[in-house]
Structures are given as C-alpha cells and as structure tokens.
Symmetry: C2
Subunit: 151 residues, 2 copies
C-alpha cells in the first residue's frame, strides 16, 4: 500500500470508469503496471467493487431520514433479527448497530413524508422488540469519498 496504490484508490473513487490508460497517464506509469496494481488491490480486498451513483429523486426517493431505534432485550438474537429484517426492506439504505442510548440507526429513503410515516407505523411500531424510536428527517446532506489514509 504505497503512494501509487493510494493514488489509484483516490482516482478510482472519484471516477471508477476512467480508462486504464488515462489512469496510468495521470499517475505517470505504464498502463500494464497500472492494471497489475489494480488487479492486486482487488485481490487484497482493498477495492471491493464499483458502483454507479444514482440520483435518489430519479428513483422516487425524495425524503431521507435516520431512525434511531431502541430494542429490548438487546441480545444478539434480537439484534441480528432486527438488523436482517430492516436490511431486507427496500426503503432501507443502511443499518448501523451503535453504542449509546439507542441500539440502531436506520438510514431510510422514501417518496414522501406520508410514506415515511406509514413506514414507521407499519414496519417499526408493529415489531415487538422495538421499545421506542425517533426519526430525524434529513434536510440537507453532503457525502464524500475517502481520499487518503489517516495516521
């Protein structure tokens, strides 16, 4: 994981579809060298895949929210079950098991506030292991991709 690897990772995070030649030229190495490095990054598990970034609005998801959920009892079985159930729902973007008062943070995206409300009522309230939940609607967000190693 030297400087060249880091640069490749940085470039492919910004644009995963640029040609290997363009990538090689930016980094000042031969295309074959670049290709071999990328292959090794794959093999080592550093690069886990390539994904298109899609506008949520185009998929009819104009409302995003975080839902904090408290479970009872917070046993392994209950946590794993809840996690799997949430993850299987199409409205769910991500599930986080966290430390603190709440046990879960569920990132959801839906067409509207109405559908969010229905989601909460139908998918959370009805689950018996859910003690309480609190939803935080996202007004604005900014995400980025990790560029450089820390430390």
């Amino acid at each position: 994981m030297d400087e060249l690897d880091s640069a490749i990772v940085r470039e492919l995070q910004q644009d995963a579809r640029q040609t290997n030649r363009a990538l090689a030229q930016k980094l000042g190495v031969a295309p074959s060298t670049c290709l071999e490095r990328v292959r090794l990054l794959h093999q080592r598990g550093v690069i886990r895949g390539y994904h298109a970034d899609i506008d949520p609005a185009a998929l009819n998801r104009r409302v995003e929210a975080f839902v904090s959920v408290q479970l009872r009892p917070p046993s392994r079985q209950v946590i794993e079950g809840f996690k799997a159930a949430m993850f299987a729902l199409p409205e769910v973007l991500a599930v986080y098991v966290v430390a603190g008062e709440q046990d879960f943070l569920v990132h959801v995206s839906l067409p509207s506030l109405d559908t969010l409300h229905s989601f909460l009522i139908d998918r959370l309230t009805e689950r018996r292991e859910v003690v309480s939940f609190r939803s935080q609607i996202i007004y604005d967000s900014a995400r980025k991709h990790v560029t450089a190693p820390l430390g």
Copy 2:
C-alpha cells in the same frame, strides 16, 4: 425512465465496471442501444458518477461513529459554516443536517478510539457554536444500493 432504464441503473449500481456489451446482453438489447441509454441517463442526471468501493481498514480507518451535534444559534450562517468546516475534515465521511433535538449528524471514520476522542475534543469542543454533542460508535453496519424505484 422505463423498465430498461431501471434495469440499467440496477446493473450499474451492482457493478459499474462491467462492459457495455455484457450489460447489453444481460438486458437483451444491442450494445449501441444500451450505450445510448446510459448516455441519456447521464445527461438527465440520473447517473451522477461511478465510484470504487474501498475497504476502510485499508485506509487505516477502523473505527466509525456518528456524532450528533447541537448548535447555537441554529441560524443559516452558523449551520452552513459548521457544515463546511466539518466537510473539509478528512475524518468526516458525511454531514447530515437533520430535524429534531440535534441539528447535525456527522459520520466519521478514524484509525482508533484514541483518534476519535482527540477528534471530538479538538474539532468539536473548541468550536463555540457547538452547544453539545453525543457520539455513537458503530459496532456493525450494512449498506446497500438502491435497486428499484419506490411507489
């Protein structure tokens, strides 16, 4: 945004680097047709880009957390300023402006618990607009990519 477009989006979310020919074959259309569709999806802003998915551990980020922050006053200027300041930090993966008791949810990733602690002390406590904050360490997480339109 017909069925073919949805299928293209779904496929490119799962693997953004598959060849156009392979994509076309999966969907049962000619490569030229497929390419034209992808071009239009770009132009319409549906596809916003392509990004490599990198293992955080490879970038020395073994600890992730959400930090909820309350600001005072929650004016536009303060919010925008805080958002920009957080977003500029390399430890920050995402910034969410949310409704509720807290004003912000900041997603961070760091090498260790020590560096997380330092981050909180050095980057949040010292900011005068920060009234309070609470950090939720992420024990486990699962993310996915939106596959189909809702509604």
